[in-house]
Amino acid sequence: MSVDSAVQAPVAAAAEPVDTRTASLRAVYIIWYRDLLRYWRDRWRLAASLAQPLLFLIVFGSGLSSALGRGAVFGARGGFSYIQFMYPGIIGMAILFTAIFGAMSIVWDREFGFLKEVLVAPIDRWAVAVGKALGGTTQAMIQGLILLILAPFVGVKLSALTILELIPLAAVLAFGLSSFGVMLASMMRSLQGFQVVMNFLMMPMFFLSGALFPLQGLPGWMTVLTRIDPASYGIDPLRRVVLSGSGRPAAVIDQFALTIGGHVVPITLEVGIMLAFGLVMLGYAVAMFERRD
């Protein structure tokens, strides 16, 4: 009977009753905190992760800007230059890569043993998945929002209001993709699967997300794939908010927006889709973690 075992237990242990629910909430916090601590500490990674977006913007963006400047979509005639179009997409790219890599550090933790320390603690396992997803979310958000300082260099005007609007949008995208990353990590037992995820999931997700080209007027098969890509619903709102700061008519901005069946998808719906995606992925990850191994 559990009563007599409680009586037998010495005083020191009785003073710290095991309440796994509060313990799990504390665990979510400390797992999140550890991720941020490691993120801050790794300055090289921070610097390196800014190099890639810069390379895309400066080389790729400038190159295509001048090539496409004479075309019908991008250019001086009331529209936006390619580099302005691409800029929010690159913010999305930074969020996409950081979120998935950040969350998938669970696989590293498993490989190097630290995950064991967490999994044997008297906490519920959902806390590990949630803590990691939130850790990835925060890192990705910071990584994306840091790029806002580049706005003047690409000729984009950002008001304080625009920035305030961008923060939750970046957070939602980061959350959806981090949860996706945790879900992937919960299924992986070794680092071997990492390259596969990178080549067969992250790169296609990036290319189909509308970060690099508008998602209108594409071939049929590609239209379908781009609408299946969850990242599309996170990057599109970022772009619409960033470009709306320029004061151009909505019709100009809508020519780049995500459409389904010819209709522009409202931002609130996109946010809803992204959140739902994140929650489903996280739910799945929690279920995977709670299976005892």
Binding site: S2, A13, R26, A27, A121
Partner: protein, 326 residues
């Protein structure tokens, strides 16, 4: 009467057809250092994992700190400290940060956290390096940090799975000095597995496990008393012939271990001259000593504890740490 802190009854673990642990019964008393000794693959880690609630037993029951490990694993985990066979530190955090993480996740009251961490750091002689990244620690320091971490939430039992595996002899001795120090300063009960015979000598009591079963249990002296008298070992190029002669002329059955023949005799000093006189086969060496736990193991199981698999694990670990350094 002392109360049993760990109590196992008929513990069994089966993986398909393989029976890793075949019915283990044991009781560990408060304040004891209890050693689980056996070769790799004997079922030591499986047993310790079941006691720590990391594995579900196929059959049998176990209570740790008075709590059933199957029915209430969370409460068991709050009351035990764990040091795993493989390292489980975050080497990109400092020693102190690793301890902080643990204290937080194990719900150590905020007011006591810093004090307990300082105390354990001092006890494990890590105070000076507490602010360095664990990446820069030596193997022995990492182990000590893990022991300190396992003690932070004031467990009643500290479980150590092969705590000295892969460490050099000097570091292994230092880990033992620290464990003894820990025991004398707290009222912790220590349960550990090892396949190093010399380490088992430090334990108050030992269970010798082979092929999933306990073959002997007692203090090192009690176990050594199972081997009567002295141990004489002889190496010879003609082991078969020598064994036959010893059997025939001296009425003793030697135990074969490759080219070595071991004999247990009442008075070794008188036996050796007789042996030399009677034998006709060539003899390379003869040695005489008091029985060790190796002899006990050999006598009880008919085979010696071998290190081959352990060295494999150690190689893997060396590779992993090289990889980690990048």
């Amino acid at each position: 009467m002392t109360e049993a802190v760990i109590e196992a009854r008929g513990l069994v673990k089966r993986y398909g057809d393989l029976q890793a642990v075949r019915g283990i019964d044991l009781e560990v008393n408060a304040g004891e250092i209890f050693g689980f000794l056996g070769p790799n693959g004997a079922g030591k880690s499986t047993t310790i994992s079941m006691l720590c609630t990391l594995l579900q037993p196929t059959a049998g029951t176990a209570r740790v700190a008075g709590i059933d490990v199957v029915r209430d694993p969370a409460r068991v985990r709050q009351r035990i400290g764990l040091v795993f066979q493989d390292p489980s530190l975050d080497d990109q955090l400092t020693g102190r940060e690793n301890l902080d993480f643990h204290a937080f996740i194990y719900n150590v009251p905020a007011g006591q956290r810093a004090r307990r961490i300082d105390k354990m750091l001092a006890l494990m002689e890590l105070t000076e390096r507490a602010g360095s990244l664990v990446r820069t620690y030596s193997g022995g320091m990492k182990r000590r940090l893990e022991i300190a971490r396992g003690m932070l939430h004031q467990p009643q039992v500290l479980f150590l799975d092969e705590p000295t595996l892969g460490l050099d002899p000097q570091t292994r001795r230092s880990i033992w000095t620290h464990l003894n120090e820990l025991r004398s300063r707290t009222d912790i009960t220590i349960f550990m597995t090892t396949h190093y015979m010399d380490e088992a000598e430090y334990c108050d009591r030992i269970a010798i496990i082979d092929r999933g079963q306990i073959v002997a249990l007692g203090s090192p002296d009690q176990l050594k008393a199972l081997v009567g008298g002295d141990v004489v070992s002889m190496t010879t190029p003609e082991a078969d012939a020598a064994a036959e002669e010893i059997q025939r002329l001296l009425k003793i059955t030697p135990i074969r271990d490759d080219g070595t023949l071991r004999m247990e005799v009442r008075d070794g000093r008188k036996f050796v001259p007789r042996l030399v006189r009677e034998l006709t086969v060539p003899v390379d060496t003869i040695s005489l000593r008091r029985p060790s736990l190796d002899d006990v193991f050999l006598k009880l199981t008919g085979h010696a504890i071998r290190d081959e698999e352990a060295s494999g694990t150690e190689r893997m670990r060396a590779m992993a740490s090289r990889w980690r350094r990048r």
